[in-house]
């Protein structure tokens, strides 16, 4: 086991990692920016070093200062958390070059899964269903022929990608010619690269993802799925739950076995998540996240496991303690993200001082947070203040408990998503478990009219 771990992150995940380390008897070193000097993650760690000013490029992404901190404090491993350097293959390599164990998968795997085209190809080869699509299309005729095969509606996308530029939805063959030429022209004008490709448009999909764990000896297990279909228009997740409600047993089985097959195919070690789009009985691989995720606690609740400790044990060279047969889910868990933002104003993020903060407690409630009464929310970072997780034997129990917990929650000084979460929990769509990724955007539209 490691002696000392550098936590290369901030906020609630830095606290989460610190807790796992301390429970394993591992010492910790925190890093922080000048804007985070009074943050809780700095107080909880045994040692803490300022690595730069507020802007992330100069602090939480400042690789030389982070590596230097790890070396002068005698760390033997680095935990990247999520975001920042968590999926930076180069950073993982630099850690290795300096004799530090990067707590995550191998750099080659991070790089391969970070590139969408490579990830898709690898998954296809492993027999994982991916969104049907094409390579670069040379002509309108080729585009029409491809669309016939894939089935309308389809999306034309610029290979250079970004900002929705050069992207067109095509609902039928009569629209293809116009869409193809305008997408090509727009892509040329925006990226100096007019090449476009095609993908099937999945209508009203659910976002369901599978948690996997792999060790350094080729053992891979899954820890069930999470439904993350409650997403803001920007596709950021707001509420997640495990297991996914109303998921057909056959679809679940294919999802889980596909995830394990995919992780084996890339010889995956450490914790990872495979994201899928699910529409009816069809399942399509979207991407793999080679890190711990924000919503990992819902899996921890139903599997009664500590995923961050597992990450550390695996990186330290231990074998997976559990076989697939040992891992039995129990009950239902829901997570609500409490963000410092205004749902009535397009989720505008807010910085400021939290004048009064009271988090819920009692049976079946877990709160992961780095804020407290009097804490300031700096403008440089993610707006998430806390994750409230409710566990129940049934989905109904978990919802009732979450509602009770949200009513206990007090956050004064900035606008938050608390009321919005309560509103969502009260809808028929959420209560019945019949919702897809268009759910929150259309709920917001209905409220705005």
């Amino acid at each position: 086991m490691f002696k000392k771990v550098l936590i290369a992150n901030r906020g609630e995940i830095a606290l989460r990692i610190n807790r796992a380390c301390r429970e394993l008897g591992v010492q910790t070193v925190a890093i922080f920016s000048e804007a985070d000097r009074d943050s809780l993650h700095v107080r909880h760690a045994l040692e803490a070093f300022c690595v730069g000013p507020g802007p992330v490029q100069r602090s939480y992404l400042n690789i030389p200062n982070i590596i230097s901190t790890a070396l002068i404090t005698g760390c033997d491993a680095v935990h990247p958390g999520y975001g920042f350097l968590a999926e930076n293959a180069r950073f993982a390599e630099i850690c290795a070059d300096h004799g530090l164990t990067f707590i995550g998968p191998k750099p080659q795997v991070i790089a391969a899964m970070g590139d969408k085209a490579t990830a898709k190809r690898v998954m296809k080869e492993a027999g994982v269903a991916t969104t049907p699509g094409t390579d670069i299309l040379a002509s309108v005729d080729e585009a029409r022929a491809a669309a016939e095969q894939i089935g309308y509606p389809v999306l034309l996308k610029a290979t250079a990608g970004g900002g929705g530029k050069g992207m067109r939805q095509v609902n039928g063959p009569q629209e293809m010619e116009r869409a193809f030429s305008s997408a090509t022209q727009e892509a040329e004008a925006s990226f100096k690269d007019g090449r476009v490709y095609m993908e099937k448009l999945i209508v009203r999909p659910r976002h369901i993802e599978v948690q996997v764990l792999g060790d350094n000896y080729g053992n891979v297990v899954h820890l069930g799925e999470r439904d993350c279909s409650v997403q803001k228009p920007s596709h950021q997740k707001l509420i997640e739950e495990a297991p996914a409600p109303n998921l057909h047993a056959a679809a679940r089985e294919s999802l889980l076995s596909m995830a394990v097959r995919a992780a084996r195919a890339v010889n995956y070690s450490n914790a990872g998540t495979l994201e899928f789009l699910v529409a009816g009985g069809d399942v399509y691989f979207m991407e793999m996240n080679t890190r711990i995720q924000v919503e990992h606690p819902v899996t921890e609740m139903v599997y009664n496991i500590d995923l961050v400790k597992e990450q550390i044990r695996i990186a330290a060279g231990e074998r997976l303690a559990d076989t697939q047969a040992d891992l039995r889910p129990n009950g239902h868990a829901i997570e609500c993200r409490i963000n410092a933002e205004d749902p009535r104003n397009d989720f505008a993020p807010a910085a400021g001082t939290l004048s009064n903060v009271v988090f819920p407690g009692g049976p079946g409630i877990r709160v992961d947070t780095h804020v407290y009464s009097g804490a300031t929310v700096p403008p440089f970072y993610d707006s998430m203040l806390a994750k409230i997780v409710a566990f129940g034997q049934t989905r109904e129990d978990a919802i009732a408990r979450m509602e009770r917990a949200l009513h206990e929650t007090v956050v004064e000084g900035v606008k938050t998503t608390v009321d919005q979460c309560l509103e969502i929990l009260a809808t028929d769509a959420f209560r019945s478990g019949h919702y897809a990724i268009d759910f929150l955007p259309s709920l917001m539209q209905a409220a705005a009219v």
């Binding site: 490029q57 200062n65 230097s68 002068i72 900002g163 505008a348 400021g352």
Partner: protein
């Protein structure tokens, strides 16, 4: 992917809300990696207009400068800017200030932005995100700088466009200082609440003249602080400097060893060493004060 700095300004309707909306809409053009606080500034060019709210964001974008400009125009359109006066009131105005590795000089697009080094409302938020803009900001005329005020904290005072209401809050704030109250909350219909607070330790009333005289700081030259700008192990450079030593000019005082590289710490000019705040062989962090030097 390229990095670009985008400036945002608004002086119509609810300017801070417009700027926030524009900041959010920027995700259409790429990933927003940093953004400044909001600043209030007096209108420039055309007087008799409401105050501006300004901010700067750094984005990582796959777009070309031209492609980015198109997206910014689209965002302006969505936010309701009406084509018209060149420097007239607008819902929101988005400009490319800088674009990594690009220089453009065309009638409708100049990168770096034509007025980049002339306007405090651009430089102040930029300097917040990148220290290298600080000298340019400080070189600006004091009167120009005075017109720019960061909207601190909850920023709600700035949301009230009604001068009468601002006047009322100011009167209440003055009265509040005279009282023993620590917290005062003012709620007006259709407005965000305003909260005034005093630190718990601060005296709640005005000090008497005698107390004020006793508290008056002794006139003294504030020493320059020499700080570490990276994390590493500090080693003194010989000959060692001690408290009270006089330095004739710029010299190396110590160096910080990081990743096998020796990074000098210099006195940046002469003066008297007021204090040595570090020990040989010590681990130092970013921003840690190492030496204090009295100039002159």
């Amino acid at each position: 992917m390229s990095r670009a700095a985008v400036g945002i300004g608004s002086n119509l309707g609810d300017p801070p809300a417009n700027v926030r909306r524009a900041l959010r809409a920027l995700s259409r053009a790429g990933r927003v990696v940093a953004r400044s606080r909001l600043y209030r500034s007096k209108p420039w060019g055309v007087p008799d207009q409401p105050d501006f709210c300004n901010a700067v964001a750094i984005i990582e974008t796959p777009l070309t400068p031209r492609g980015l400009l198109d997206v910014l125009k689209q965002i302006e359109g969505d936010l309701g800017r009406k084509p018209g006066m060149r420097w007239g009131p607008r819902t929101a105005d988005l400009d490319i200030l800088l674009f990594e590795g690009e220089r453009v000089d065309e009638p409708d697009l100049r990168i770096p932005h034509a007025h980049l080094y002339e306007r405090a409302f651009v430089l102040a938020p930029l300097a917040e995100l990148d220290d290298s803009f600080r000298p340019a900001l400080e070189a600006l005329d004091a009167s120009e700088r005075a017109g720019v005020v960061p909207l601190e904290g909850r920023e709600t005072v700035a949301l009230m466009s009604d001068d009468a209401l601002i006047e009322r809050v100011r009167t209440l704030a003055e009265a509040f200082i005279e009282t023993d109250l620590l917290r005062l909350r003012i709620e007006a219909e259709n407005e965000d609440a305003v909260e005034l607070r005093k630190p718990h330790s601060a005296p709640a009333r005005k000090p008497t003249a005698a107390e004020a005289a006793a508290m008056e700081p002794q006139p003294a030259v504030k020493p320059d602080r020499i700080k570490a700008d990276l994390v590493g192990i500090l080693h003194f450079t010989r000959p060692l400097v001690h408290e009270g030593d006089r330095l004739d000019g710029d010299r190396e005082l110590a160096h910080v060893e990081a990743l096998g590289i020796r990074n000098p710490v210099r006195s940046l000019g002469g003066g008297r060493v007021a204090s040595v705040r570090c020990k040989d062989g010590q681990a130092v962090e970013y921003g840690q004060v190492l030496f204090e030097i009295e100039r002159g």
